[in-house]
């Protein structure tokens, strides 16, 4: 029994944190927002040089062939920095979908280009108010052509490839679509997160190639979302921890009524509780990352548990970090708002709490209940 990261994983985290700390500072984030940028392209190039996008992609497809937990430590650092890169969309979602459901040809065509960061992909699952993964998709795939609307789709402005959740012969399926053609209309939406752009994608007889293994594989699609949950939860843990220490540092510096703000029990206990929530969420994330590779039968419960605990932790952390900062936290010049907005993105992108509660209860060992 050894429940800690391996040395190599710690080095990976350190490397990622070092790079992101240098290239993705809060001032850089402000610069990007001011420029209306959709992403931090130079940062993505640097991350790609070090092989991060390809971390979990098999070596035969140009990746490093590492595991889910390794990817998790990178996701955590991306979350800590609120980095404006399509790591989640392109790697956690799109590359994973291709890896799990694609044919050899599809893998050969796309995974190497995703692994080196040259191509950015995304996964288009939501359909507006119909939900994040509507039971039956209104986007249809027929005879190699895709039609319908997916919205919102994260990072779809910089992606040239989308894995699209659709209906094929009445069954749920994933299809690969190149976004640069004329049959795709990309409409940038006004979004809540200033560092992750979302689009509405309208397909009109757009050429698409099915990921054959996905057709009708509902369990497989749920496992894909489990795996997305694990990585996004690592992101949330990184963000939550950043908030705790940002608040702590501010409170230590700030004097109020002749005392350090950090000496007030209201502030101490608030941060203690959030630290507990964060460390607990991290513990669930560690297990989920481990189970994802080593105990797939436990993944459903682990992914649900980490989703519920990580989002709770990040929600508290993002809100109370701003609160501890007081008025200054409400200014664009302070760094609280990046997390305050990103937290909502993660919470909502990961699907409703109720979905995960159902998934958890249904899969807890010894229980034989139906999904509601």
């Amino acid at each position: 029994m050894n429940f800690d990261l391996a040395e190599e994983q710690k080095m990976l985290a350190e490397q990622a944190r070092g790079l992101l700390g240098k290239q993705s500072s809060p001032d850089r984030l402000r610069e990007l927002i001011d420029a209306g940028a959709e992403w931090d392209e130079p940062l993505w190039a640097s991350l790609s040089e070090l092989g991060f996008p390809g971390a979990r992609i098999p070596e035969e497809y140009g990746g490093l062939g590492l595991g889910d937990l390794d990817l998790g430590v990178i996701s955590e650092e991306v979350g800590r920095a609120v980095a404006a890169v399509p790591f989640y969309a392109s790697i956690v979602c799109a590359a994973d979908a291709i890896q799990r459901f694609g044919s050899d040809e599809q893998k050969e065509a796309w995974l190497p280009r995703l692994a080196c960061g040259e191509v950015v992909g995304t996964l288009a699952h939501a359909e507006g108010r119909q939900g994040w993964w509507p039971k039956s998709s209104s986007v249809s795939c027929r005879a190699g052509k895709l039609s319908g609307v997916k919205t919102p789709v994260g990072d779809a402005g910089i992606a040239s490839l989308a894995v699209v959740y659709c209906a094929y012969e009445g069954k749920p399926a994933l299809a690969l679509v190149e976004l640069d053609g004329e049959t795709v209309e990309r409409r940038k939406l006004d979004g809540f997160d200033q560092l992750r752009a979302h689009y509405a994608l309208t397909f009109k007889d757009t050429p698409a190639s099915l990921l054959e293994a996905s057709v009708g594989d509902e369990d497989g699609l749920r496992t894909l979302t489990d795996r997305m949950s694990v990585q996004a939860s690592f992101e949330a843990v990184g963000g939550a921890e950043a908030c705790v220490y940002m608040a702590r540092d501010y409170a230590m510096d700030r004097q109020i009524f002749g005392r350090s703000l950090a000496s007030y029990q209201a502030i101490k206990h608030k941060l203690a509780d959030i630290l507990v929530a964060t460390e607990f969420a991290r513990s669930n994330a560690f297990f989920a990352g481990w189970a994802s590779d080593n105990a797939p039968a436990e993944l459903a419960v682990a992914a649900a548990a980490v989703r519920l605990s990580a989002i709770n932790a990040y929600e508290q952390a993002a809100r109370e970090n701003l609160q501890v900062h007081g008025g200054i936290g409400y200014t664009f010049e302070a760094d609280c708002h990046f997390h305050y907005r990103r937290e909502r993105t993660l919470a909502i992108t990961l699907g409703p709490r109720q979905y995960w509660a159902d998934r958890l209860v249904t899969h807890v060992p010894g229980k034989q209940m139906e999904t509601a």
Binding site: G128, F257, G327, Y330, Y340, A347
Partner: protein, 401 residues
């Protein structure tokens, strides 16, 4: 206990309704309009002038000051009826009526009252407040902006923050330190200052919402005539208390949670709507119960005020709960709607309102008494528990670290 109007109240309401029906429609803003600031201020002033002419400016202000000298219930009734129209009501008007006039009325000289009250009631004079500083927020008495007497004027240097609409206000109410050798609360003095005075520089603060309706105000060798000092030197803290203890009985808004129920009902979910999900129902029903409680709690406070009792720190309960509820429920509603709430595809308006609320709630949890400060007030002033241990007690300001 009676929720209905008394005959006198009903009569007043009927009178107000009739007056508003005649005068308000001409001042209404077009729905969904975004005006430029100058236009908004001009319209706000015009409506205030209308109120003045109708005898409804300063309902609570005493008659001797030129107000109506009305009751709290009359103010509430007027407010309820006025809210039925979409009228221009900005802080540049509210600060004058709610903060400047009470302090001038209580601590000012006859000349000052004469100079400021009527023009403010008429909407001719707009106000901003210059209280908070970068190192003096919750701990307001820590202000460092200095005023030094030179002849018949004070020379003021320092920096103020969180003054709303300072760039569109005629005058400001200002608290500064005149005696750094005195202990913190004792060395403060209160002024009114012409915002066009040389040496005043106003810079917008960029807020996390994207808006810049608050400012930083830099004061460099600003000369304020002695005649614009309110009260005596060293009376600044008492003046601040007059301002801050003013009626805060209008905190919170009703109908928010009903709107969220509608939002949930407009969100499809597995053949029904999100409002049919028991977990959503329970969350929204619990929030609704709290919102209703706030409404009736407010009614209890108003009843106290109408009897001449001072609700004191009880009023803090309204703001404390409203801000948290706004944050929690707007965040929750985004989750209920799901990904469409991150970047809506159509029907953008209610989702934008949620974003606004979710962002604005952070400011509300801080401004006008942070959550933690309000909990202190409630425990100390209502429950009689001990004050915080202070390291600044009895220490001259310039010896504090």
């Amino acid at each position: 206990m009676d929720f209905n109007d008394t005959p006198e109240e009903a009569e007043f309401r009927a009178e107000v309704k009739a007056w508003l029906a005649k005068h308000a429609p001409g001042h209404e803003l077009p729905p969904g309009a975004t005006l430029d600031d100058a236009d908004e201020v001009a319209r706000g002033k015009a409506w205030q002038r209308e109120l003045y002419d109708g005898g409804y400016a300063g309902i609570l202000l005493s008659k001797s000051l030129g107000g109506r000298g009305g009751t709290i219930v009359e103010a509430v009734v007027f407010d309820e009826e006025e809210k039925k129209y979409n009228l221009p009501k900005g802080p540049y008007i509210g600060i004058g009526l709610g903060m400047a006039l009470p302090v001038i009325g209580k601590h000012g000289t006859d000349e000052q009252i004469k100079k400021f009250v009527e023009p403010t009631l008429k909407g001719e004079l707009t106000w901003c407040q210059l209280f908070s500083e970068p190192a003096a927020g919750s701990d307001l008495a820590a202000v460092r902006t200095r005023a030094v007497k030179e002849g018949d004027a004070y020379v003021v240097n320092g920096q103020k923050v969180w003054s709303s609409w300072a760039h569109h206000s005629d005058w400001g109410i200002l608290v500064v330190r005149t005696d750094p050798k005195a202990v913190k609360h004792k060395g403060l003095t209160f002024f009114v200052v012409d915002m066009k005075s040389p040496g005043i520089e106003i810079r917008p603060i960029r807020q996390i919402s994207g808006a810049s309706d608050f400012n930083e105000t830099f004061l460099s060798d600003v000369r304020i005539p002695e005649g614009d000092r309110i009260g005596a030197e060293g009376e600044g803290w008492a003046c601040c208390m007059t301002v801050l203890m003013g009626e805060r009985l209008n905190q919170g808004e009703e109908g928010r949670i009903e709107a969220l129920m509608q939002y949930a009902a407009d969100t499809p979910m597995e053949g029904a709507t999100a409002l049919d999900d028991p977990a959503v129902r329970l969350s929204l029903a619990t929030a609704y119960a709290e919102e209703r409680a706030a409404k009736y709690f407010q009614a209890r406070l108003r009843t106290m005020v109408s009897r001449g009792e001072n609700p004191g720190a009880l009023a803090a309960m309204m703001k404390l709960t409203y801000a948290s509820r706004l944050q929690q429920t707007s965040g929750l509603a985004m989750e209920i709607r799901g990904m469409d709430a991150l970047a809506p595809h159509e029907d953008v308006i209610p989702t934008r309102q949620l974003w606004h609320d979710y962002i604005w709630s952070t400011a509300l949890r801080i401004a006008g008494g942070a959550d933690e400060v309000l909990r202190n007030q409630i425990s100390e002033r209502v429950l009689g528990m001990p004050g915080e241990m202070r390291a600044d007690k009895g220490v001259p300001f310039d010896e504090l670290k």
